[in-house]
Amino acid sequence: MTRAEIAGRLDASRALYDELVAYARSDFPYEVCGLLAIRDGHLERFYPVRNAERSMTAYRMDPESMGPPYLAIDQDDELDLGVFHSHPHTEAFPSATDVAEAAYNPHAVFLICSLQDPDNPVIRVFDIRDGRITERVFYVDGEEAPTGSR
């Protein structure tokens, strides 16, 4: 598996983690995407957003469904923005496209769910600033989430 320098952490409840995995599976083999409200380093709420590309290798958040949750999170000084998407066939690591597009949301925390091993989904968490990727340790109900073997 591709590694990155570890910096920081993100916490989530098991319920929210399961919600993300279920959503990733819901449109397999296509990529899915959504936004997350993060409060004090904890995932608070997930907002599924339609993938306007409906592609197995790309996503583009549909502007209409993306608008209200993005605006709500962005206008709230107490919330940080999380961007979630799935990699149905590849590892949970930012692709070259992910890194390039992150330039437009440098403040976001990026969560990627891999379904490469369908029985062992993996969600990893990244910060991408100026083309540089660092990874956060992801705690689910206080325990480190699996990062998989591949």
Partner: protein
């Protein structure tokens, strides 16, 4: 005429950190030019040299995506709210 413009975090470096600014314009194109005058860099972040909306921003007038309204020619009225958000994409 006053149009409220909501500015996303990523563009607040052009507004001195303000999340909301006001502008004028009978169309989105005119508003963008007005915003560029009062907040240099903000207008350029929305519209490219050919006058089209950048692909990496989404602009909404009263919560409707302007790509469905009239693009940069979308008419504006006093009291309208324009929201700017970055596009979110990847692969």
């Amino acid at each position: 005429m006053a149009i409220e413009v909501r500015v996303p975090t990523v563009l607040r470096q052009h507004t001195g950190g303000e999340k909301t600014v006001t502008g004028e314009g009978a169309t989105l194109r005119e508003l963008v030019a007005d915003l560029e005058r009062s907040h240099p860099g903000l207008g350029k972040a929305l519209v490219d040299d050919s006058g089209s909306l950048h692909r990496f921003v989404n602009v909404y007038v009263n919560d409707e995506d302007v790509r469905f309204l009239g693009g940069v020619e979308t008419p504006l009225e006093d009291g309208d709210t324009v929201s700017i958000l970055p596009a979110v994409a990847g692969g």
